[in-house]
Subunit: 117 residues, 3 copies
């Protein structure tokens, strides 16, 4: 069974599709200088754009892993953006933990597993 990749380079692919499953690389903000609200919005916009290119959408996310640089400070602020982003009743299984990321200014990274329609 074939594997399809989008935005693949020598290090990673932004999207990997196999069977009915879609794996996204960890998504981060475009502007790493933004605050947690801005970085969360940009991260979710990247996820939405990649899912759209794949032929699916945010109502078909199965699993989300959210990494926050400062979980005590930013958990509720991230949630305020997250909660407004998803239609009720189609929300994924979610885990949120604290971790530093590959650039010290990054405040959030999100890894997604979704499904094709």
């Amino acid at each position: 069974m074939s594997i399809k990749r989008l935005h693949a380079n020598k290090r990673m692919s932004q999207v990997v599709i196999h069977d009915k499953f879609v794996f996204l690389a960890g998504q981060v903000a475009e502007d790493v200088q933004g605050d947690i609200e801005k970085q969360t919005k940009e991260t979710l916009a990247s996820i939405e754009r990649l899912l759209g290119e794949t032929g699916t959408d945010k109502t078909r996310i199965l699993s989300a892993t959210i990494y926050l640089k400062n979980i005590d400070k930013d958990f509720e602020r991230m949630n305020s953006i997250w909660d407004a982003w998803l239609p009720e009743g189609v929300t994924p299984a979610r885990s949120t933990v604290e971790a530093n990321m590959c650039e010290p200014e990054l405040l959030i990274e999100i890894t997604i597993i979704a499904s094709l329609p």
Copy 2:
């Protein structure tokens, strides 16, 4: 192909089922004041209950990601509970790393991917 969700609210679903795969939200202890043994037992009990509601069980866990707040101090104490919980020979692929969680008192969070029978 449809997606089924259990215990879904505006933020997340505790269970997401797609194809033959079951994704659980990160499970934590009910009593965040418990020590690592108590929190591990409660976390595993939540996993077992959610898998049961879904029509599967702990012998069909494919993958487990375990986050510990204090890995040096609690790794072996968590393992003593974990090892007794699973029948030998039906254990999942497992990763364990250290991370803070959304409440400072939480000592353990576990994310599960399982399969339906």
Copy 3:
């Protein structure tokens, strides 16, 4: 649908196969005294060996989660080994975050989801 496990003990299985999906336990270096380059090479060698035993290979990795003990110091050094390891165009969706692991000397752990041919 059956689940197949390789190198299963009472705690975990190094490989779990279900449907066309392969889940590996978090892989680490054999020699925990090695530097990041050595530990990365040994970790990737373990992944390659386990995928080979399963009848698949590194060109069929769907998702990789990389945990680094010191992400600021070791991210580029890990990438230099990683980038040389994978043929261009068949790279997985990847997330990399900082975390401590179960032994303080461990500098890297990698969790893999792959597919059978």
